[in-house]
Amino acid sequence: METMLLKGNEALAEGAVRGGCRFYAGYPITPQSEILEYMSWRQNEVGGSFIQGESEIASVNMVFAATALGARALTSSSGPGFSLKQEGIAYWVSAGMPAVVACVSRYGIGDGFIGPGQDNYWQAVKGGGNGDYHLLVLAPNSVQENMDMAYESFELAEKYMHPVLILSDATIGQMLEPCTAPPMKEYDKDKAPWALKGTPIGQKNKVITDMTYNQDIDEWNRDYIRKMRLIMETEQRWEEISVPDADVVFVAYGISSRIAEGAVRLGRERGLKLGLIRPITLWPFPRKAFARLSDSVKGLVTVELNMMGQMREDVILASHWRCPAYSVTTAQRIPEVEQLVCFAESVLNGSAVEEEVF
């Protein structure tokens, strides 16, 4: 184990490399360009390949093809660039390719801004492209987790032959924190069971394609939905802070969860029983965490860098309306700890209002 001081984006890139990533393709976009820049020299050092694609669309399809030939391959983007990749990612899902994409979220609709945002939650966890799918979505909240999640992402994707999305954000991507780097994993692309390597005459050739062509579609559907249910059952991950006796429980991921954690501490100092559920997987959403909640909880409060409280819907589904669900939405601004404590107080004294925005 070695300790490094890295930006979140660099940690994500290094974690991927140590996890066996030997192909990267991407296109510059703020605030994720450090991943691309880091990979441009780092892949050379480890004998991998780097292509600066002519667009996000080209890059996502480069990763599809590299994965099809057996490489552990990564692409990354943000905002509108991540939108451009959605068609390609849907093909990964359809073909069952264990590729990995990182989105360093920025705020805004369309071009938007370059600062942090959590307003592409729906796009990230509800599919994003056409067809019935969710990606396996990991939500790091520190530089260390950027590294660790990138490190494990390929094995997780290969376990289910399903793509993984690392949903980071501009704050985590740009901030410097010390982190501990795990050892380099050995990975042999020739041993990947799906890998195309060329098939001599007389042997059965392989085709990596859209689901509908080479297999009975009903059979494919059955296997696919079984896989999705297995992921939902097996991979829910979350962290709990002071939840068992909490009257108000924040629900937050990514950079918002760091602020919410501070609010729990400050609230407890003031005698308020606050807690935090931090989803680590956004899909599958950690429903199990909500099934165990005490009946004494007076309110669940999502903290989100968006306007519509997108994750609140998933909290309502997970908690079955057992208690009121609120959102503190701060759009392009990172919330203040004090603001969250005040909101929790308003939940406790009955003045907070559940607001629907759709």
Partner: protein, 240 residues
Amino acid sequence: MAKSAPSIMKCENMFCAGCGHSLFDRLLGEVLTEMDIVGESISCSDIGCNHMYQYSMAVDTVVPPHGKMGAAMAAMKKVRPDKYIFSIAGDGGAYAIGLGETLSAATRNDNVTFFVMNNTVYAMTGGQMAPTTMPGQYSSSSIKGRTAEEHGRTFDVVKLMQNLEIAYLARCTVTNAAEMAKTKRCIKKALEKQRDGKGFSLVEVLVPCPTNWGLTPPEAMRHIENDLVPYLPLGEYIDR
């Protein structure tokens, strides 16, 4: 063309009667077999009529989204530089939706090979106008005939690529035995350029589409000779 189909062709093809794709696939299958590189080849399919080669030709294949072969092949060659990487593409995929990716692969001089079947229409979706649709040609989205004024000029890959620093650029057709023999030589040459590390090669093949042209197979062949070839001359344009 050889007397019997090469063993890489595993079954009857699925193309319409008189379609030119099947003739090209057969010629490519013969070249791959004769060069003994079937096991060293990984193909990249477009999406469209052309992609049906994967049912009758036993070669490892990746099928990226429509038109994205230029990007996909760049990655394939990086991951497995010792393999022959080629695409059987359509004119809509390579020259319209995928033109950016095709041209980027060419300007980088990626060491990969494009075989582009140009039948001047979007065939699989029912014969709509493509960038390659000829002046005056009727299609299901140019029902009074294409005009430069209304629809823009017709695409010509030779005009686009002839000044690029690529290894090989040729246009050929499959209208008779002599032309098929020339096409086979172009296929082989393109793959040899890749073997020798010379870079990007593209062979455009003018192929008939009797179904969407509303012609009989013999009429479709004559249409290529009389109406396409004068406008899109055959030959080798880059060979370095």
